[in-house]
């Protein structure tokens, strides 16, 4: 397949970005979309040009790192997949493909097609409370969770935090992500074990009229 790619290039967050047009030739319909970009990047490197920056990690649809807005749709024209699972057979020879980064005030562009998704981590941290103890793996039954709650929580955990909902939403809303994470966390006793300890300490302070300064 021969394709024309219109790709958003932007030096850094502050720089003015623009679309640059590239031609790629002899792409196999069986290659993935990211492999097609790898091929393009190799050509650019061979011509001593800067490769196109784009996010990816697992390339098997589970990590949520890949994030491309392809021909007007987050993760491209296929249904229910991430960009890394998109294959070139979804396109036709001679197609013009426009590739943009996620666009949202909450996702500033780092470079080219890469955006900063710290906002998602901040949201998760704002609602969560865990202590991370070093040492061995904690005992599996030390915090009992009902099967029903753990199943529902796991369902909500299907959200891999890719950001496509924000990228797609006409209002650039993170509601879908937040609701998934709220369900995922609220169903677990996360923080409650610690909360209990804190209330234990408060109780101790009241009972013994002393503060714990350790």
């Amino acid at each position: 397949m021969n394709l024309t790619l219109k790709i958003w290039r932007q030096e850094n967050e502050k720089a003015q970005g623009k679309f640059v047009t590239y031609e790629v030739k002899d792409i196999s319909p069986d290659s993935s979309f990211l492999e097609m970009l790898d091929i393009l990047n190799e050509q650019l490197v061979n011509k001593i040009q800067l490769p196109i920056a784009f996010d990816h990690d697992c390339r098997e649809g589970i990590c949520g790192m890949c994030s491309l807005y392809i021909n007007g749709r987050a993760h491209g024209p296929d249904e229910g997949i991430t960009t890394c699972q998109l294959h070139m057979r979804k396109f036709s020879d001679g197609d013009i493909i426009t590739i943009e980064p996620w666009r949202s005030r909450g996702f500033p562009i780092i470079k080219d097609l890469m955006v900063n998704r710290d906002a998602f981590d901040n949201i998760m941290q704002s609602g969560g409370y865990i202590s991370v103890n070093t040492g061995g793996i904690p005992d599996a039954n030390s915090i009992p969770i009902s099967k029903e709650n753990s199943d529902l929580s796991m369902d909500a955990a299907a959200c891999i935090g890719c950001g496509a909902c924000v990228a797609t939403c006409k209002n650039s809303s993170a509601m879908l992500f937040v609701s998934a994470k709220v369900s995922q966390f609220a169903l677990l006793p996360q923080g409650r074990t610690e909360a209990k300890i804190i209330s234990n300490i408060a109780r101790m302070n009241r009972e013994f009229l002393c503060a714990n300064f350790s």
Partner: protein, 223 residues
């Protein structure tokens, strides 16, 4: 309480509750006006009942407040939504992720608002405050009341007024297509079973309102 007016969820709640209130009003308003098709007596009596009912007097400022809240928060939310994506996409295909109506709620609402202003000038101010001269009187069963019927039937004899009112009804229907289910979703009524049902009810409701309000001017234009 402060969160209600400042948080995104609270503001959406205000949109939802004010919208549901307007939805109820507009249905009652349609049912009343469909009496125009029954005849002058039925219509005039209903108008008289509304004009003399103390509950309706109580509801008038509430209705005005409903509109004001709805419009103010629609403006706030729409401006926020625009700020949330400072740089627009070059190519956008939202055909599968949102309806056309949902993407144009503010434009549709704004056009409905312009229509409502015209509508108030045409009827409400004349019926309520006698702007442009008192209405003629009729007597039914010994009770004297305003004869509002010729005001309506006369207006729609002007073909372009009839056309404007049909356009107004269509714009309102498009606004409502995304309204009922969205308002209920805001209140938490959404899951994969409910969503298609509520969305279909919304479309049905929008069609009823759109057709209902269109029939009236068309009826007078051709009769």
């Amino acid at each position: 309480m402060k969160k209600l007016f400042s948080s995104s969820v609270g503001q959406k709640l205000i949109m939802s509750l004010s919208g549901l209130f307007l939805i109820t009003f507009i249905l009652v308003h349609l049912l009343l006006n469909l009496l125009l098709l029954v005849g002058p007596e039925a219509y005039n009596k209903a108008v008289h009942f509304m004009a003399t009912n103390p509950l309706m007097h109580l509801m008038e400022p509430v209705l005005a407040a409903g509109f004001i809240f709805h419009i103010i928060y629609a403006t706030i939310l729409t401006l926020q939504n625009q700020k949330a994506r400072p740089e627009a996409y070059a190519v956008v295909d939202q055909s599968e992720s949102s309806s056309w109506a949902s993407r144009n709620m503010y434009v549709l609402g704004g056009l409905v608002f312009i229509f409502i202003a015209l509508h108030l000038v045409n009827f409400f101010f004349k019926m309520k405050f006698g702007v442009g001269g008192d209405l003629p009187k009729v007597v039914y069963e010994g009770i004297k009341m305003d004869d509002a019927y010729p005001l309506v039937s006369g207006l729609f004899k002007v073909w372009w007024y009839a056309v404007i009112y049909v356009i107004g009804a269509v714009l309102l229907a498009l606004h409502l297509r995304h309204s009922l289910w969205s308002a209920l979703q805001t209140l938490g009524m959404n899951n994969s079973n409910l969503r298609p049902i509520l969305e279909n009810i919304s479309i049905l409701y929008a069609v009823i309102i759109g057709l209902g309000f269109s029939i009236i001017p068309i009826y007078f234009l051709i009769s």
